[in-house]
Symmetry: C2
Subunit: 348 residues, 2 copies
DNA sequence: CTGAAAGCGCTTACAG
DNA sequence: CTGAAAGCGCTTACAG
């Protein structure tokens, strides 16, 4: 157990702020919660006192008094605990900073929008959705219709007003091709991601553009389908490697598939990267598990989740609906992590 | 935002309980917090009212009034986000049930006990430690000396009073051998875990016992060292498979190494499970990623974390120190998950 | 647009 | 061993 005063510096309260600003506590509360309209001069006074005093509201008191507590739900369908783990780390930190409650919910991947609607307003104040659920049309439509505060992670859409964050899959894929070309590769195979993920299309587009810029042939038998699974990567890898004129480098749209390519190469007696280079995407745990370790694109997942929580909190606080939000696409920085699986092609 | 009454059934308060039990609110509070001694007749009355009314304390009020909030820290050194993710899920749920605060902290694996000591009482009320940190002597000694409420996950020691939870590595390993023997295998190889983890020794002991019971030779060239990494599993697999009289089944002390064995088999042109069966341990994500999927032992990690939170809360609440706790080893149920990587040996 | 009052559910002293 | 009082920091009506 720990008394508050052991850890918190004698905390400044709403009343302190009120005194400092020369208004009533009620007014401070109103400013803080954007409730009814406060004269803007008053508002500014209060805000500056808040800043001056470095005030931050006591969540316990808040929820005791008003029963108002912001509940943010992180919804996921895919049980990749690695992906989820990173997301959780970031979300947890942000949630405790802003005093929200975090609810983590697993739902069947084929959940009907209707069963979601039920929980919506009754249970949560905002939603963070990760792929592939965020790519499901019915779910997006529901959330949009309801004007429910939602942040989509890693799944961009054409809907201009939807709040979406992630990395630029298109540009990241171009970067991978640039990297491979820079190494000296001129026959580069690509294994696509699952067709139901929008990011798959963007990664493919990036590859094609990168190849085009390098003046290299794109498409044809160098692009094969995949489903984000190890096994599909293995089969696709076999297919590419057994072609009459096999690629010297293979870029797979995620790490699981890239690991599958490693297995395919091994099965054919090929050494990576000596005989063929392999690049993945995501920097998931398997990237540093398999040998050789995978060169791959790293997404800042925990930062992503943190930003999502903050943004969602703002949306809810300002009573914004998705439709009101203007700039709502946020691209975070990714990085190309160079490890052992890619190297220059061997001299013929 | 959501009003409390929208979600909570008109909640029963401490006052309701007091009325029901015919005592003052203060007495109820005392019973609930095991503070000063309450006459046991009174105590029972209160407790039964609590049960009858299905009362659960409002954490917000609790922390507002007393500033008493229990902070539990989950400490980890190894960045396996998959393992951590599962642990987090369980911990989060429990924490919200009991109204504790969860702090998740990553520390360098080689952290000095001294730098830990600093944070100890100032910041946390209890600690959950996962391997391999829980196997570090210096850290255990520090925690023990300080009498700091701690639950060790997955790392059992000889210290009788330390509170430790996990699965029975020894028995689980025996079960794997039984399973393999039942399938018809009589030459079974074993790849050991990292020597710094105590669980490694227990898994080895289980294997030896299982083999002994089956009347099979143990040890010798059938037991090779490993370090829990994919690469060490691959090398160990190669070593086993290249022996003059190779095993027909290989049990690796974790899934990463088992996946490495798969790679080794592939490199030698062997098919799993046709030519050799492979069994892992942990049921980590890689088990269902690689192909064939791994037969393995599943640990109930999220349940484990949940139990740890609850236990820790009790330890803290009752002001118990480790040394006072009596039965402090908890074994949770594991399960042997049968997938594609193990089958009967082929008829010669 | 702003304020004075009351109360959220619990716990802290302080008395018996 | 048990209770009556006051208050934690905020927000909800309710008034101006």
């Amino acid at each position: 157990m720990s008394k508050k005063n052991e850890t918190n510096k004698a905390s400044v309260t709403l009343i302190d702020v009120a005194k400092h600003a020369g208004v009533s506590p009620m007014t401070v509360s109103r400013v803080l919660n954007n409730l009814s309209i406060v004269k803007s001069a008053t508002r500014e006074k209060v805000l500056s006192s808040v800043e001056r005093l470095n005030y931050s509201p006591n969540q316990a008191a808040r929820s005791l008094a008003g029963g108002r507590s912001t509940r943010i739900c992180l919804l996921y369908g895919n049980p990749s605990s690695a992906y989820l783990g990173e997301l959780l780390m970031g979300a947890l930190e942000a949630v405790s900073t802003y005093g929200y409650q975090l609810v983590v919910n697993r739902v069947p991947e084929d959940i009907s929008p209707e069963s979601l609607r039920k929980d919506l307003h009754r249970t949560w104040d905002g939603l963070i959705i990760s792929p592939p659920m965020g790519d499901v049309k019915g779910i997006r439509r529901l959330l949009n219709e309801e004007g429910f505060p939602t942040v989509y992670l890693g799944c961009f859409s054409e809907n201009k007003s939807a709040c979406e964050m992630g990395i630029d899959d298109y540009q990241a894929s171009i970067d991978v091709i640039d990297f491979l070309v820079g190494l000296g590769h001129s026959r580069i195979g690509f294994i696509q991601g699952h067709p139901s993920h929008r990011s798959s299309a963007q990664r493919l587009a990036g590859v094609e553009e990168g190849l085009r810029r390098a003046g290299l042939p794109a498409g044809g038998d160098l692009v094969v389908p995949g489903f984000f699974t190890y096994r599909s990567g293995m089969e696709a890898g076999l297919q590419l490697l057994k072609a009459r004129n096999p690629p010297t480098a293979i870029f797979a749209a995620n790490d699981d598939m890239a690991a599958g390519v490693l297995a395919a190469a091994s099965e054919m007696g090929l050494k990576v990267p000596r005989d063929v280079s392999v690049v993945g995407f995501d920097d998931s745990p398997i990237a540093t598990t398999v040998w050789p370790n995978l060169t791959t694109i790293r997404q800042p997942l925990s930062e992503l989740a943190g930003r999502a929580v903050k943004t969602l909190g703002d949306m809810i606080g300002e009573g914004k609906r998705q439709a009101d939000t203007s700039e709502s696409k946020t691209y975070l920085e990714y990085s190309l992590i160079k490890r052992e699986s890619a190297a220059a092609p061997k001299a013929d």
